[in-house]
């Protein structure tokens, strides 16, 4: 058995948003000299514009650094980044699967957050060594003893040796790196066995084709070598291999235990699926590595081009996005109101927002997104069961025996003072309390909640009732019968399929009223009066009216500056173009998402 380089350390950082993961990784890169100071753009690992703007990490990224330890040895540190938002927990487990250890970074004043707890459990399940780190130790509000106690109470790992650092000032960074090489084990593998490389991530580059991030478990992957994707049996010739430092640095090969990129002239992402194993086409391994479980989108919404001519462009854009985002699901959908578009599945609301923003920003598309919905299980009177991804798919009431909605198990960590607020919120959202545990200053709450209520505005509400201190993680638990009804929205008497929503019967009246009121605010006044109604079946439950605009005329025109008048009218026309004409009514894009905004004040 060929030995693996004992000086390799593959690790991830588990941290809640804002607990300083990106700053910490920048420090590592700086200390190890990955980039010259002048090249240090803050938070180099968040490479998508969107990631940097929103301060979140969406896709797994990696960086290889050489660290010269105090014992004189040089270690190759492969840091695999993980997303910090609950929507992307799937990506987290993928990143962790490629590691041998993880740093659990906790804000020394804020303490442990639910997201980190969930990710930590995933790491522990995968047998990873978890090294606790207290960050932001420089802040006056830092309370390391309390937070260490929390780590022990809530997560259940020993935190006596937790390293104290400040990524911002640089304090403790080298101590942390020392702990890292000491405590996280070297990878295990066989350098002489046939190649087995796990695909952690694949993305599409317009110039290079598919780039895959791999963890080589056994053997080695070399330039010019013929490799095989084991799930499809397709062979490819390796063009380039290398590591990110974080700049791409070409190498001759990647050996067992190493993490890096492979470019092999692959044109479509499906040929290098995340979770698949690359092996040597000449000397294939017998068994593929355990991959990842297929991800199930949780939230569905229709995406339609405002301008029907953009349908093909939208299809292209979705297929390109999917190259880099295997969690994105889409299939063609036709709406009476919106024409041709796609029903898309997302991991959660943030994922949906990000996809929508990328489509608009990177592909310059003008889109309408319909209200997100969860998947309902519908038991039919003939004994069949069907899944509903779109309210308009709901069978006639006479054929429905029962509708079942998805229920999640939510874990919430909240400081005691906000406990009452949080419980009230959960109950308001039809939650049922399962467990409650006091751990130091924080309370660990466990609630069963309908997913539909969670996707709507639960996160925002939770943050606002706890002044930002509560944190939340969830997993899908089961389907449960619920008295759901479809609320249709009629515009000038015409049912607009894209505006229909599924609602619990008890809330239907209220939601319907809120919705028509919100729509009234969002639909601008037009030449004719617009009537908006909410209905269950043929019964109207709410109504509002957008009064007709009275006039639209320039008061003065005496041969002066024409260009300003032209610009004004062009702007008006442009604004109208961004709206969707349903019947004779112009409906702005936001109105299709009105349901998300009924609580805006």
């Amino acid at each position: 058995m060929g030995d693996v380089n004992p000086n390799i350390r593959n690790f991830s950082i588990i941290a809640h948003i804002d607990h300083g993961k990106s700053t910490l990784s920048d420090r590592f890169i700086q200390v190890c000299g990955g980039l010259a100071d002048r090249e240090m753009e803050e938070q180099v690992l968040d490479s998508m514009d969107l990631e940097r703007e929103r301060g979140i990490t969406i896709k797994a990224q990696s960086v290889s650094l050489d660290y010269k330890s105090r014992n004189g040895q040089t270690y190759q540190l492969n840091f695999i980044d993980t997303p910090g938002h609950v929507d992307f927990s799937y990506e987290v487990s993928r990143s962790l699967a490629a590691c041998d250890g993880a740093l659990l970074v906790v804000d020394a004043s804020q303490g442990v957050e639910a997201q980190s707890v969930a990710n930590c459990y995933t790491a522990i399940e995968l047998n990873l060594e978890v090294v606790p780190v207290l960050n932001k130790i420089d802040l006056p509000s830092a309370d390391p003893d309390r937070v260490c106690q929390e780590i022990e109470d809530i997560i259940g790992i020993d935190a006596t040796d937790a390293v104290h650092v400040s990524a911002k000032t640089g304090v403790g960074i080298e101590d942390l790196l020392e702990q890292l090489v000491e405590r996280i084990p070297a990878p295990i593998g066989d350098a002489n066995a046939p190649l087995k490389a796990l695909i952690i991530d694949s993305w599409f580059d317009n110039y290079l084709g598919v780039i895959s991030l791999v963890r080589v478990v056994d053997g080695e992957i070399r330039k010019k070598m013929k490799i095989r994707a084991m799930s499809t049996g397709r062979d490819f010739q390796v063009e380039r291999v290398g590591v990110f430092t974080p700049k791409a640095l070409d190498k001759e090969s990647l050996k067992a235990g190493e993490v890096g990129f492979v470019i092999a002239g692959i044109k479509e992402i499906t040929a290098a699926r995340v979770g698949d194993t690359f092996t040597d086409a000449q000397k294939p391994a017998e068994k593929a590595l355990a991959g990842f479980k297929e991800i199930q989108p949780r939230v569905f919404a229709g995406i339609f081009p405002v301008d029907a001519d953009q349908y093909e462009n939208l299809r292209d854009a979705l297929s390109k996005l999917q190259l880099n985002d295997s969690a994105l699901f889409y299939e063609p959908e036709t709406s009476q109101a919106l024409g041709f578009g796609f029903r898309c599945g997302f991991l959660g609301m943030l994922h949906m927002e990000i996809v929508q923003e990328r489509l608009e920003r990177e592909y310059n598309l003008n889109l309408i997104t319909t209200a997100p919905t969860v998947v309902y299980q519908v038991a039919l009177t003939d004994g069949d069961t069907t899944l509903i991804h779109n309210p308009s798919e709901l069978p006639p009431i006479s054929k429905i025996a029962e509708i079942r909605e998805p229920i999640i198990r939510g874990n919430i960590l909240v400081p005691q003072e906000y406990l009452g607020n949080v419980i009230t919120l959960c109950i308001e959202k039809r939650g049922i309390q399962r467990n409650m545990q006091y751990t130091g200053n924080q309370v660990q709450l466990s609630f069963d909640l309908p997913l539909a209520e969670v996707v709507l505005d639960f996160f925002d509400k939770l943050k606002s009732v706890s002044r930002g201190y509560a944190s939340f993680d969830y997993s899908l638990d089961r389907f449960e019968p619920a008295p759901m009804v479809r609320v249709d929205i009629l515009v000038n008497g015409e049912k607009v399929d894209a505006l229909a929503i599924m609602v619990h019967r008890e809330f239907a009246q209220q939601r319907g009223r809120q919705l028509v009121e919100k729509m009234k605010e969002l639909i601008p006044r037009q030449m004719y009066e617009v009537a908006i109604q909410a209905a269950i079946g043929s019964q109207i439950i709410a109504r509002s009216t957008v009064k007709a605009m009275r006039k639209d005329v320039l008061a003065k025109c005496y041969g002066g500056d024409v260009s300003r008048k032209r610009k004004l009218l062009e702007k008006q026309k442009e604004g109208k173009k961004r709206m969707k004409q349903v019947g004779s009514v112009d409906i702005p894009q936001e109105a299709f998402l009105a349901v998300l905004r009924v609580n805006d004040k």
């Binding site: 009064k547 605009m549 009275r550 320039l554 008061a555 003065k556 041969g559 024409v562 032209r566």
Partner: protein, 383 residues
């Protein structure tokens, strides 16, 4: 073929004080106005414009501002004489002078009349002292009420009053009182227009609270009925007149006629005799720059030809403002272009109920009249 009518616009850029809503090129007047030098500049400016309008005659002259009535009668007289030496006037030419109530002296206006001015346009704006103050006007209600009498005594039988509605905090009753007051002064013409917040004004930077759209529409509806009952016929979006007293100068704008422009910041539009391309230009805005450049014969600060793709829009922007619409043949008369190029927009307008065609005549429908911008936008060129 009928020649394209030609009008002359003269801009006098000074006011006693700049009003916060006004987006015209006006400047607070210095203690001593450079009247003589400015008249010299205007005449030099016109002389330099002559090559583009050679052989044509003037249908109307409009001296606007600013407050042209700040100028002395002899200066205005010298100006008009100088113009006539360069350009022939049609018989009964309409010559309008803009005036503000604070500048009204009977003797002076008698002299204006003798100098050849035959129409006055007076910027009353409101008869309500509170609103006059909010608008930053220098005059008060009492002065406004005296205007028509002074004008008549001075020999003017053709007077327009400018009046605004939709003023800060204005109620429908107050607006009707203003209008009723104006009607009782029996002017031949009323320009009754909505206050709008224009860029580059103080009101745009610090917007006052204006009545909401519904109230404004109510005011307009009530006012239009009152004007009609009082025999003022609406012939344009904001223009109402007694029979036979429509403003010929403004009609020329709306019928897409030509106009020479002299004076600081003035806009002109001239159809070139040789190829019928349409040129627009503007004069330097700062009075000092303008006077210097005008004497050198280079007073235009910008000039451009209307792009072929924009002719439809610019034509319709003007003609659709006329309540009775227009003969489609006018398009060819003014532009020498085939009327067919309007067809697509006209079709859409008819489909949307905004326009109505009757033989060779086109006009906005009642709906189109209320939503004129949407009718005009049908003729926008590609961006």
């Amino acid at each position: 073929m009928t020649p394209i009518p030609l009008a002359l616009y003269i801009h006098i850029p000074w006011c006693i004080r700049k009003c916060p809503y006004c987006d015209f090129n006006s400047h607070q007047s210095p203690n001593e106005l450079p009247e003589g030098a400015y008249v010299d500049a205007l005449l030099a400016d016109l002389a330099s414009e002559m090559p583009s309008i050679w052989g044509r005659r003037l249908e109307s002259i409009f001296i606007g501002g600013g407050t042209p009535s700040l100028f002395s009668a002899p200066s205005i007289e010298r100006l008009l004489c100088g113009i006539q030496a360069l350009l022939p006037f049609r018989p009964n030419i309409e010559i309008t002078l803009e005036a503000n109530p604070g500048t009204f002296e009977q003797e002076k206006f008698r002299h204006f009349r003798q100098a050849g001015i035959n129409r006055l346009s007076v910027g009353i704006q409101s008869f309500n002292d509170k609103h006059l103050k909010a608008l930053g006007r220098v005059h008060n209600r009492a002065e406004a009420l005296n205007v028509t009498q002074i004008a008549r005594n001075a020999g003017f039988d053709n007077v327009n009053l400018d009046l605004m509605f939709g003023l800060p905090d204005q109620t429908i009753e107050q607006a009707m009182q203003d209008l009723q007051q104006a009607i009782s002064l029996a002017p031949t013409h009323l320009s009754w227009y909505q206050l709008t917040l224009e860029p580059n004004t103080l009101f745009h930077k610090q917007p006052p609270i204006l009545p909401d759209d519904d109230l404004i529409a109510d005011i307009q509806q009530r006012g239009q009925a009152l004007l009609a009952d009082s025999d003022y016929q609406q012939y344009e979006v904001s223009a109402y007149s007694k029979a036979g007293f429509q403003c010929r100068h403004n009609r020329n704008y709306w019928e897409f006629g030509d106009y020479v422009a002299i004076g600081a910041g003035a806009h002109g539009k001239i159809t070139q005799a040789h190829d019928f391309s349409i040129q627009r230009y503007q004069k330097y805005r700062q009075p000092a720059d303008y006077m210097k450049k005008a004497l050198e014969g280079t007073a235009r600060s910008t000039q451009e030809f209307i792009a072929a793709t924009e002719v439809n829009f610019e034509f319709m922007l003007n003609v659709l403002r006329l309540r009775d619409g227009f003969e489609l043949a006018l398009f060819t008369e003014r532009t020498k272009l085939p009327v067919e190029q309007l067809e697509q927009g006209i079709q859409k307008g008819i489909e949307q109920g905004l326009l109505v065609r009757n033989g060779g005549h086109l006009k906005p429908t009642a709906l189109g009249w209320r939503f004129l911008n949407q009718a005009i936008a049908l003729f926008l060129g590609p961006k």
